[in-house]
């Protein structure tokens, strides 16, 4: 038996609904249709009245979820695409994220963001929004890169008493498979060493973990051992695991599919240079998508985002320093 990243997300929601009567799912087409990607397949029939179609109203979807938490509910919201969550950004960043700080009353909502690029997605169905949400105090931002993390971190997200932005990568939905779902896993907030090495560290997350692993395979053929840190969670960031890796390798490349200005790469490099400058044998490097909207055509899209070849090329530059 094998289970995909998308099936893991469906299974996590199934389990969350089964185990907690206060969980409900709200989003566009999530009901009997099962969601645009089928992440809620069969759940409406299995849990009548608890998997609810929403109008195309991202702001009101999140606003109502915030209100429902005050009655004890723990809503899971599906944004059909992460890009559309900009419509709800006021409710997420100004209403939900500030509520506990303003009132002392927690706001446990989970907002699922089908994120990142796929062939033909274009500028409005491909964005990576994690850095925008991580900028705001009061939010937890998760970016699972594996089937196991997609499952366990979504289950954990529903138990967290704060708003969680769950950035699941669409490219991994069908491409990524595991033999089984995990019984236990690393908790939210802990990074994972996805591959051990000694010559350079790649800090990355989400779909870029797999591009980085392929780049490391290429570099291995050239005699380099690359360590890869999968952040798993963008906020909080596990700086300790990153610093420990850089201490072992002395070289740092940060890779993210998001736009280059600011963002997770800049945050990681800032932390490493501030807290671990003495560990570095070379200036840290970062590799992002290009500073343009995300193109539609596969030829352009593949060149727009970091990929194993460009990661390998950046690593060679880093190792040559």
């Amino acid at each position: 038996m094998s289970i995909t990243y998308l099936e893991a997300i469906q299974a996590a929601q199934d389990r969350a609904l089964a185990e907690n009567e206060f969980v409900y799912i709200y989003g566009q087409d999530v009901g009997s249709f099962g969601g645009a990607f089928k992440a809620t397949k069969n759940l409406a029939a299995k849990y009548p009245g608890r998997v609810i179609d929403a109008p195309i109203s991202e702001d009101a979807m999140v606003g109502s979820a915030i209100g429902a938490t005050a009655e004890g509910m723990r809503p899971i919201l599906e944004m059909q695409f992460a890009d559309f969550s900009t419509i709800a950004i006021n409710q997420i960043c100004n209403q939900a994220a500030t509520q506990f700080w303003r009132t002392g009353i927690p706001c446990p909502i989970t907002v699922r963001l089908p994120s990142g690029g796929t062939e033909g997605g274009g500028p409005f169905h491909s964005q990576s929004m994690e850095a925008i949400y991580a900028q705001y105090p009061g939010l937890i931002v998760l970016t699972p890169a594996t089937v196991e993390d997609a499952y366990s971190m979504l289950l954990e997200a529903v138990t967290i008493d704060d708003p969680v932005v769950f950035c699941e990568h669409k490219y991994l939905y069908y491409h990524l498979k595991a033999d089984q779902l995990p019984d236990k896993n690393l908790p939210v907030g802990k990074a994972r060493i996805a591959r051990t090495g000694k010559h350079a560290t790649v800090v990355t997350y989400s779909a870029m973990v797999h591009e980085a692993l392929r780049a490391a395979d290429t570099l291995e053929e050239e005699g380099w051992e690359i360590e890869i840190v999968d952040l798993r969670s963008i906020k909080p960031i596990d700086t300790d695991t990153v610093l420990a890796s850089v201490a072992r390798t002395g070289r740092l490349l940060c890779v993210s599919e998001a736009f280059p200005w600011g963002g997770v790469n800049a945050e990681v490099i800032s932390r490493v240079t501030s807290e671990g400058f003495h560990l570095l044998d070379a200036p840290p490097k970062r590799l992002n998508a290009k500073d343009t909207p995300i193109p539609f055509h596969p030829n352009l899209w593949k060149a727009h985002r970091p990929a194993s070849q460009s990661i390998a090329s950046s690593l060679r530059d880093l190792l040559r320093y």
Binding site: P55, I66, I87, Q95, T103, I105, G138, I237, R271
Partner: protein
């Protein structure tokens, strides 16, 4: 699912007279309190701003008295709803403490002036983004529906300017789709800050929108307390009986600036002398006297009591400590183990 906690209770005001008298007293209390906060603002004792509901008290109190917090009703006030807040059950001291930055206040001085609430009591703490609190009230009703508490309703306040936001549209449409027991009170006070209604919307009356949303609409003179009380009572009953959202438009005039920093010089004499330019507190007082439900001596006695009440609350809040940055947690998360702390790196 949990059983409904409260099966319902009768309205605490058994007749029109007692309701009207109570409403008037809340209006007076709000008016006196807000005048006091304006003085404190001008004296530099209140920072940030003071936002008054002068001219809107009848409309504000009308909605709040149609709600019953003991029944589980939820209230989403906006910036000009001091009267409604008091009528719903917010303590005057909470308002004073928030305005004056007391650490004892419900927002612990992290937020100020009108940005306060009491989530357990059912008062949504508004943020500044207009319209965004409507769906939050709706969400509480959805949550109550999940928990089997079907008797409660929600009341939410907005102004004419707030109806132009996407959040207002999304929320009202959502409430209509879900057939929620929600009363939406739109105080059309003719100006959104300085922008007149002819630059805000193009329909004759905002109640025209009700049919488009598939909700029941009511359009009233918001300066007439009797009309406000009766209309909101009717709307609340319709909502509670399952007829879905109720859109109530109150036509009135803001008798002050947007905030105390604003002299409202853009409000013309024509507006002030117009049909909605009358002061709803004066109108209500005249009605009380002419109907024999009260008299000048009693109203003077109420005013004296209210002035003492206001003085007590503001003095108490002024004596209390403000926040100490060294005692502040500086944490925005409820989940302490996931807090990153504050890197100065």
């Amino acid at each position: 699912m949990a059983e409904a906690k409260i099966k319902g209770s009768k309205n605490k005001y058994c007749d029109s007279e007692s309701r009207y008298r109570a409403a008037f007293r809340y209006m007076l209390l709000a008016r006196v309190f807000e005048e006091r906060t304006a003085n404190l603002y001008r004296a530099g004792k209140i920072v940030g701003g003071v936002f008054m509901g002068k001219g809107q008290e009848a409309f504000s109190v009308g909605l709040a008295l149609a709600l019953d917090k003991n029944r589980g009703d939820v209230y989403g006030p906006l910036i000009r709803d001091q009267a409604g807040r008091l009528a719903f059950g917010e303590a005057l001291l909470d308002a004073a403490r928030t305005y004056l930055g007391s650490i004892e206040g419900p927002m612990k001085a992290r937020e100020g002036n009108v940005h306060r609430g009491n989530i357990p009591m059912g008062i949504i703490p508004m943020i500044s983004h207009l319209g965004s609190h409507i769906s939050v009230v709706s969400g509480r009703l959805i949550g109550k529906r999940f928990c089997g508490q079907k008797d409660a309703i929600g009341g939410v306040c907005i102004g004419d300017g707030g109806t132009s936001t996407g959040a207002f549209h999304e929320a009202l449409n959502q409430a209509a789709v879900e057939k929620l027991p929600l009363v939406v009170a739109v105080a059309n006070n003719q100006f959104a800050y300085s922008t007149p209604t002819d630059r805000q919307f193009a329909c004759d009356d905002l109640v025209d929108r009700a049919i488009g949303y598939g909700v029941e609409g009511h359009s009233i003179d918001g300066t007439d307390l009797s009309l406000c009380l009766d209309t909101f009572q009717k709307a609340a009953t319709r909502a509670r009986e399952g007829y879905g959202p109720q859109l109530v438009i109150g036509h009135l005039l803001r008798l002050c600036g947007h905030g105390e920093h604003d002299d409202a010089s853009y409000i013309s004499e024509k507006h002030k002398q117009g049909v909605f330019g009358r002061d709803c507190v004066d109108v209500a007082q005249q009605y009380l006297i002419s109907s024999g439900w009260s008299n000048l001596a009693e109203i003077e006695q109420w005013t004296a009591e209210i002035q003492k009440e206001v003085e007590k609350a503001t003095s108490c809040a002024q004596r209390e400590s403000g926040p100490d940055p060294f005692q502040e947690t500086w944490q925005a998360l409820a989940t302490t183990r996931l807090a990153e702390g504050n890197s100065t790196a």
